[in-house]
């Protein structure tokens, strides 16, 4: 039996909008935040759950934790119906909401951990062992005595991840764990999650709109858009389906004619000594960079990943705006 199982899951919100009829007349409108999603996740998997803003990612996570009741469909986590047995399930899951914190704002970080200790009734030895491990791997040692409000976003996020893991949850849900983090913090969080999944076998479901998170962590990715599951499979497959391209930006020593003689790359545009080349997201950048460096006086370069909006837009034809227009 899969560890997480969704069958035609739905969540419909009724929102009141001010109608045209008058100041005090309000019309009800339905928002289908999650519109019939089915998937299964096995124990020990690490899955990326991606999609543009408003796609329904957070709503799905909230239903998985039991804090939102589905409007339709079926949902089981570890055989439990989350909305009905939220408290029982809570002992077995860990949750991190990137934009929110579970930590006590005005008190030192370690006070929040003492709270987790009591809340999840973690045996003392186990608690100390887990805390030591998190402190070491997430480099929290010097932060334990610092009030949470004084932590940087990256530090707070690491503190939150530790808080979600002290009771050895079988599954960890992360809703945008890297949002707003700097590159170094992102890398540290990703490394920790990879280790958690491989060495402890914790099932991880990760929501993000940063494709790099997925690339570095997840072999399986699910794409949702407007409440529907658009893709479920390997990341490479997503690029293939989306025919997405990455962008290579090169800074040359001086202004030169467009680079058109490097196989596999397509010239996009130039701006003085800076040029942009596109290449398929499924191929490696290394040989391309080598080929450019061999023929041109290269000073600097950077690679930009295709963003999810673009991939999805390509996958289903047209941009979001265009699709929206065509629906009218």
């Amino acid at each position: 039996m899969p560890f997480i199982e969704l069958e035609s899951l739905e969540k419909v919100f009724t929102v009141r909008v001010r109608g045209n009829a008058g100041l005090f007349r309000r019309e009800k409108r339905e928002v289908r935040a999650v519109d019939g999603i089915s998937f299964a996740v096995e124990r020990g998997e690490m899955v990326g759950y991606i999609g543009p803003n408003g796609a329904g990612k957070s709503t799905t996570i909230k239903m998985l934790t039991g804090i939102l009741t589905p409007s339709g469909g079926r949902l089981r986590v570890a055989g439990i119906d989350p909305a009905r047995e939220r408290t029982r399930l809570a002992q077995r899951i860990g949750v991190v909401f990137g934009q929110r914190t579970t930590l006590w704002w005005d008190l030192p970080l370690k006070d929040s951990y003492r709270l987790m200790h009591r809340m999840y009734r973690i045996p003392d030895a186990r608690f100390r062992e887990n805390l030591d491990r998190c402190v070491e791997l997430l480099e929290l040692g010097e932060l334990l005595d610092v009030p949470v409000r004084q932590l940087s976003l990256g530090q707070r996020m690491r503190g939150d991840i530790a808080a979600a893991l002290l009771h050895d949850p079988e599954v960890l849900y992360l809703d945008e764990p890297t949002i707003g983090l700097d590159v170094v913090s992102k890398a540290r969080v990703r490394e920790f999650l990879r280790d958690l999944n491989t060495s402890r076998g914790t099932t991880v479901l990760l929501t993000t709109h940063d494709l790099t998170d997925i690339e570095q962590l997840c072999s399986r990715v699910m794409v949702i858009d407007r409440g529907r599951l658009m893709y479920d499979g390997e990341l490479s497959g997503l690029h293939a389906v989306g025919e997405s391209e990455r962008l290579l930006m090169v800074d040359l020593e001086r202004e030169l004619p467009p680079i058109t003689d490097v196989p596999g790359a397509r010239f996009v545009r130039s701006e003085g000594p800076r040029q942009w080349l596109a290449f398929p997201a499924t191929t490696s950048a290394a040989p391309l960079v080598a080929a450019v460096a061999a023929k041109y006086p290269l000073l600097d370069l950077s690679v930009r990943e295709p963003d999810i909006e673009a991939v999805i837009a390509k996958m289903y034809g047209g941009t979001r705006e265009e699709r929206r227009e065509s629906l009218r």
Binding site: K57, T69, R86, Q99, D111
Partner: protein, 267 residues
Amino acid sequence: MLRLYATVAAGGFRRHATYRVATAAGVFTNTVFGFVLSYTYIALWDERPQLGGYSVDDALAYVWIGQALITVCGMMGGGFEDELIERIRTGDIAVDLYRPADLQAWWFSAHAGRSAYQLLGRGVVPMAVGAFAFHFTLPSGPGGWLAFLVAVALGSTVGFAIWYLVAMSAFWLLDGQGVVQVAWLGGLFFSGMLLPLNVFPGALGEVARMLPWASLLQVPADVYLGKYVGWELAGAYAFQGCWALVLFGAGRAAQAAATRKVVVQGG
């Protein structure tokens, strides 16, 4: 579970203890208001001695008890409802809800810790200053103080229950400010913060003394002043206890309804 809530209460205490400047400012404000109200009451009791059955010394004690308990019993706001409403409004309440703990018990524990701090940090000093400046009525011995503290604890519990119920409205209204303002006005008037409830004339006074807000200041003050003798004291506690139970129950019902249809905001 009790250890969890004890930890939450301890956190509530220390959380507020970190704000020393706020505490000092609060003590200053309460003391200033204490003086202003004292001189007003002295003038009033000069005109009408034994008003509401209080001597002028009783009335002055009442003033300073009110200043000491203002944040403990939540006569003009429970002190936590703004935070709770804000969490509901922004959706941060999601974090509180997925925990294996009861929302109301959690916030009550935090409130208890905070109130204990407010009583020590903001209650004792104004009370002592007032006693020194005005020589008002004091309870008869340690037994009187103890009886008073029990009434304060019950009053603080009723105060929590009122403001919790107010905060729950935010699940439906999202903008809880209207309800908060009505509750604030009601609390100010019916708790006896402006004038003791036994000064209120006729039916208005009778009704006011039956409402839950009477538990916050009027009952603790009358216990302090030794107005209840023998079984009357048990009756006063029972009055507070009943309101605590009823309002806690209403808060639970609201919470259950809210979490059943939960509208947790935001992403």
